[in-house]
């Protein structure tokens, strides 16, 4: 992985570099496939997600049921597909929320400085003082379990990291001499923001988005596992793993396939994020990032 100077005029070479990395390429392909499968889940699913068929419960993978059946005779493949759709939905919405709110907060704090900076960043620090799952758990406990509250909880919990990333990038731009020169020439804030700040934060932001999507899927799965996320009978990968506990020795496929689905998606997002990072923001691969991102 060679170091690449960031800059939008090098975009062409960036793409080529991105595609040259086999892992990143593979992740991209996998994610596209996953997105298609999830998007069309209800149409391509071979059976209904709640077609209870108790006489055929706990069947191993076969021609009729590629992933086997669960304790109520439901087709696991269909449920995994629809559950993937739900997981992606939750992650995308929650990360989108976190990006919008977090970037706004971070840019304002970094650009305006002063009171805005102090107040916003202290709030961010307080949120960082809570472990991620604990905070999400507490929020879902307040608002009641369900898909919408899960989205909100994960969105809220992920906002601080985007705020920090956005602020850091904004700060590094704001102190650049050409920005000060622009200001003395009378250029509006809006112009500076869109021309200088946003392109600068784009790189780290994209990387963080990919990584946060990965973590969002894991968080949603954990919340569903604990019974606080997506509620039955709507399938969710975490809940399917929970239900598989009583049947581990009788029906290993109930645990393996939902878990594998999670791993595939999360791994793809992680590898993609890493590949993007190598291209867009090589500075981040340091210990400092570890401290900041916790």
């Amino acid at each position: 992985m060679t170091d690449m100077p960031s800059g939008d005029n090098l975009r062409v070479s960036s793409w080529r570099l991105l595609l040259a990395n086999p892992l990143t390429l593979a992740s991209g392909v996998v994610l596209i496939a996953v997105a298609i499968a999830a998007g069309t889940a209800r149409w391509i699913a071979p059976s209904g997600i709640n077609d209870v068929d108790v006489p055929n419960a706990l069947q191993p993978p076969s021609g009729a049921h590629w992933f086997g059946t669960d304790e109520l005779g439901r087709d696991i493949l269909s449920r995994v597909l629809v559950a993937m759709q739900a997981s992606l939905q939750v992650s995308v919405v929650s990360v989108a929320f976190a990006v919008v709110v977090g970037v706004t907060v971070g840019v304002v704090a970094g650009y305006r400085g002063g009171w805005a900076d102090i107040v916003f960043m202290r709030v961010v620090d307080v949120m960082f003082a809570f472990p991620v799952l604990l905070l999400a758990l507490a929020i879902v406990a307040i608002l009641g379990p369900g898909m919408t509250t899960t989205m909100l909880a994960i969105g809220i919990v992920f906002t601080p990291i985007f705020a920090r990333v956005a602020r850091a990038s904004t700060l590094s731009v704001r102190t650049e001499p050409y920005v000060a020169v622009s200001r003395t020439m009378g250029t509006g804030h809006g112009f500076i923001l869109s021309r200088h700040v946003l392109p600068n934060i784009a790189g780290p932001l994209i990387v963080q988005t990919s990584l946060s999507l990965a973590f969002a899927i894991l968080s949603e799965a954990a919340l569903s596992f604990l019974g606080l996320g997506i509620q039955p009978p709507h399938p969710s990968l975490g809940r399917m793993i929970f239900d598989s506990q009583g049947f581990v020795t009788l029906a290993w496929w109930m645990a393996v396939f939902p878990g594998a689905a999670i791993v595939v998606i999360v791994l793809a997002f992680n590898l993609l994020g890493d590949g993007l990072r190598d291209v867009l923001d090589p500075k981040q691969r340091t210990l400092a990032e570890a401290r900041r991102n916790r």
Binding site: R122, M127, F130, P131, A221, A222, A255, V263, N270, L287
Partner: protein, 322 residues
């Protein structure tokens, strides 16, 4: 060593400490607010299915729930500072005592997890860094990526399914205190420790690798090499020693992360620690217990991060002055 006693360090520590206290105050407010926004009347739930209006009022005023919210907060904050976090709604036990009772289990799990993680991440990360670009480096990096992508509860269930239910080598759950039953403690802590440790190892391997890479490229190492010292000598003396502090800071961060992330692992393994306590308290709407546990975990989190920051500042003077 003289620099340790110079004022910049102490000033930095002082500033960070003050700052941490401010954050802690914010944590207190947030913990209090979170719990009091929960719908469902805790008094009704605590009293069960039938009770008289008198009993309801009595418990309500005894818990102080009939006073204005702000007053409740300050009274809570005040007692919290003296170590009194109230009593559990469910069984009337003092919250502080319950938390302290459950703390050792979580701490032993976290420590075992970190030890396993270090046992794996240190050699793997160093090897990976030193053999950068080679196949073994690639394998280690992909494996660690894989490890980061596995949900910990899934790994726990698979481990239990294989080693406990099918092979019967290890118990499926439970805990034995270290001091009264060391053999039992070890047998019971292995699977949960592995679950926590393997995931942490995956994360830490990458950072160890990065830390070693950064140190290896540092000027003085190149100088040592150019002086003709054997590569092995350079490795063991310079690289390892200088990468030690960043690795310690990584360990600290991971430890803090584990403290927050053990909830699910503790639930799966029926591990009687803080995480499972929080989960049960949330399910039972036991306000005082939720509040106390959240406060304790966040405080520990803050404390560990504070220590990490200070350690890091000791190493990197640039941070001190920022």
């Amino acid at each position: 060593m003289r620099t340790l006693f110079a004022s910049p360090i102490l000033r930095f520590v002082g500033r960070r400490l003050l700052y941490s206290l401010v954050v802690l105050a914010g944590v207190l407010v947030l913990a209090f607010a979170l719990v009091h926004l929960v719908p469902g009347d805790p008094v009704r739930i605590a009293l069960g299915t039938r009770y008289t209006p008198e009993a309801y009022q009595a418990l309500r005023s005894a818990s102080g729930l009939d006073r204005p919210l702000v007053q409740q907060f300050f009274s809570y904050a005040g007692s919290a500072l003296t170590g009194d976090l109230g009593v559990s709604f469910r069984n009337g036990d003092p919250v502080t005592a319950t938390l302290l009772e459950r703390l050792p289990a979580t701490v032993s799990l976290a420590i075992v997890g970190i030890l396993i993680a270090l046992l794996i991440a240190l050699p793997a990360g160093i090897w990976s860094a030193l053999h950068r670009g080679r196949i073994s480096d690639g394998i280690i990096r992909v494996t660690s990526q894989f490890g980061v992508s596995i949900p910990d509860f899934w790994m726990a269930i698979l481990l239990i399914g294989l080693f406990a239910s099918t092979l019967g080598w290890l118990p499926t759950s439970g805990y034995r205190p270290l001091l009264t039953d060391p053999g039992g403690w070890l047998r019971h802590v292995i699977l949960p420790g592995l679950t926590v440790g393997l995931v942490a190892a995956a994360i830490m391997t990458r950072y160890v690798r990065t830390a070693v890479l950064e140190v290896a490229s540092a000027a003085h190492v190149r100088t040592a090499r150019s002086k003709g010292l054997a590569p092995a000598v350079v490795t063991s003396r310079h690289i390892v020693r200088n990468a030690l502090v960043p690795v310690l800071t990584i360990t600290g961060i991971q430890l803090a992360t584990i403290l927050g992330g053990v909830i699910v692992v503790e639930v799966v393994f029926a591990w009687p620690g803080l995480g499972r306590l929080v989960y049960n308290a949330v399910a039972a709407r036991d306000y005082p217990l939720i509040q106390g546990a959240v406060l304790l975990i966040a405080t520990l989190f803050l404390l560990i991060n504070l220590i990490v920051d200070v350690l890091y500042a000791v190493v990197d003077p640039r941070i001190r002055l920022s």
